[in-house]
């Protein structure tokens, strides 16, 4: 990689051991992925729940946090993805003390480095959305794909260590979606039925993700016949990134880089698949066994204020019989409180959690402690993840999930 004088100085340790580690880590990654040089980034966003970090990762963070203050502080605005708990609800979730201890230690380390504990995966809705062309080091796949595709920003998937490194150096290796040539479409999918509900947008994202198959594919979708809302694109992108490891998509006439098909694709790009009502119906599996549901979860991504508004309306006058968990960000939660949404959800027996995400919060241990196995959700991303954690997740509409929470059964 071509290094500037400043980057050589960082590598030589002239700005301390934390930045020396950071630039060395970035060079190793950049060389592997054939980056020619670095690009400055405006923000970093760190995924670092303690189930992923483990004690070894927390100790590693504490080692950096113990350095002298000038050596350990991040150089650019650096924020965090959801944590592994909502401390106020941890006892109800039957999370254990050792989990909370790890979380406290990780938070203390991040704060010592000057990192802002935003604890959200919807920062593009609530904190500071990226501007078209702005380079970022974002560390949540849903954040990356939304920012790249809907906002026209430029970020690769930056895992926790690399996002932290970007915070410390203010730059990231210039490869992948920082470069024009990687932003061209490689996969054309025609859509003959525009999804309506959020779980249907997730279904479409899952189907396109399966077709794409890896990080370097860029789908372009034609046929979407209206402008989707932010929550719809949030669920679509999150599922596409989850099922396909995809970081960028285009929608003809909708997303900013593809006002016309020719803006992002050669005319010769073949049509890979057509997705309509039949394909979307075939994706969904029915409930397991007799349809008994142990828990209903709205999460992944965290819910917007508008999603919470819809959920509260569905719960008005009803009473859940199995746990119903809705997860939002620490930024949205106070608004939900002030607007009375939290009280309406809780009046029906639901729980509104803040600053966590279900699958990032020791999902396996929560399942074992609470006897949860059959889970209903409107998040296709959550369905994709939780099978490996021992759940039998089922995708359904928000309306059907609420009905299941009240009756204890999900209709076939």
């Amino acid at each position: 990689m071509n290094l500037t004088d400043e980057e050589r100085a960082l590598l030589a340790g002239e700005a301390g051991p934390a930045r020396q580690w950071a630039i060395g880590h970035q060079i190793a990654v950049g060389r592997y992925l054939r980056a020619a040089d670095f690009v400055p980034v405006a923000q970093a966003h760190i995924m670092a729940d303690t189930e992923s970090l483990g004690p070894a990762g927390v100790e590693w963070l504490e080692h950096l946090a113990a350095l002298p203050e000038p050596d350990r502080q991040v150089r650019i605005p650096t924020i965090t993805d959801p944590r592994g708990t909502d401390f106020a609800a941890a006892a109800r979730l039957r999370q254990q003390d050792w989990m909370l201890d790890l979380e406290h230690r990780a938070i203390a380390a991040f704060q010592a480095m000057g990192i802002l504990m935003t604890d959200t995966c919807i920062n593009y809705q609530t904190i500071m959305p990226a501007v078209r062309g702005e380079h970022m080091a974002y560390g949540d796949t849903g954040v990356v794909i939304y920012s790249n595709s809907v906002l026209g920003a430029r970020s690769n998937f930056e895992g926790g260590p690399s996002a932290l490194a970007a915070g410390l150096t203010g730059r990231t290796p210039r490869y992948g979606y920082h470069l024009d040539e990687h932003r061209r479409a490689s996969l054309h999918v025609a859509v003959t039925r525009t999804p309506a509900a959020l779980h249907e947008w997730g279904t479409l994202g899952a189907l396109v993700g399966r077709l794409a198959g890896d990080y370097w594919q860029v789908p372009v979708l034609s046929g979407i016949d209206r402008i989707p809302g932010s929550d719809e694109l949030k669920h679509f992108g999150a599922a596409l990134a989850s099922y396909g490891s995809v970081a960028l998509f285009h929608m003809v006439g909708i997303t900013p880089e593809s006002q016309r098909f020719a803006d992002v694709a050669d005319a010769a790009l073949p049509l890979r698949a057509t997705i309509g009502a039949a394909e979307m119906a075939a994706f969904r599996t029915g409930p397991a066994g007799d349809g008994t549901v142990d828990v209903v979860v709205f999460s992944a991504p965290q819910l917007s204020l508008f999603e919470l508004r819809d959920l509260a309306a569905l719960l008005d006058g009803r009473r859940v019989t199995v746990p119903l968990l809705a997860v939002t960000s620490p930024q949205v939660k106070p608004d939900a409180d002030r607007a009375g949404l939290t009280a309406r959800i809780e009046a029906a027996g639901g729980q509104l959690l803040s600053g966590m995400c279900f699958y990032q919060s020791y999902a396996r241990e929560m399942a074992e402690a609470n006897g949860w196995r059959n889970l209903a959700t409107n998040s296709a991303k959550l369905v994709n993840i939780l099978g490996g954690y021992g759940y039998r997740p089922v995708l359904a509409s928000m309306e059907a999930c609420v009905a299941a929470a009240c009756s204890g059964r999900l209709a076939a």
């Binding site: 592997y32 992923s52 990762g57 260590p161 370097w216 989850s242 994709n384």
Partner: protein, 139 residues
């Protein structure tokens, strides 16, 4: 001895038995990292131990957690010995860089079809180009 050249690699040279499938890899989505087995029910390797094995798989999948989890698994010594992929995503590279983990990727052939499950293989990221050597075809 059959040798397969890769386009990129990092980490130390390692030798071990290959665990092969034409399926993807994500530490969060696919593994029970406490038990050390593949736990995703529809993964081709579901129920099999990955500890100490050289995983030969198709593509990096899923989200960003693997960037931490390789380090976490290595610290508890419940980790694969190396990862060999047809196609990486940045997360696998970032995770390998943090953990000092052996990773190579990018082959002229589908490496999951070229290497037999259980074969004794050597992964040499420091060779130019990085290579996977099949030392013994069957377990």
């Amino acid at each position: 001895m059959t040798v397969f050249a890769a386009t990129a690699g990092m980490g130390e040279r390692v030798r071990g038995r290959a665990l092969v499938a034409s399926d993807g890899f994500s530490a969060r989505y696919d593994l029970d990292r406490i038990a050390g087995v593949f736990s995703r029910p529809d993964h081709a390797l579901a129920g099999q131990s990955y500890v100490g094995r050289i995983l030969v798989l198709d593509a990096a999948k899923g989200g960003v957690a693997t960037a931490w989890m390789l380090h976490e698994m290595a610290a508890r010594k419940i980790a694969p010995a190396a990862l060999v992929l047809n196609r990486v995503n940045p997360i696998m590279v970032q995770g390998a860089a943090l953990a000092g983990f052996t990773l190579i990727s990018g082959f002229a052939v589908d490496i999951t079809r070229a290497v037999a499950n259980g074969a004794l293989v050597e992964v040499d990221p420091g060779a130019d180009p990085p290579v996977l050597r099949v030392l013994e075809d069957t377990a």
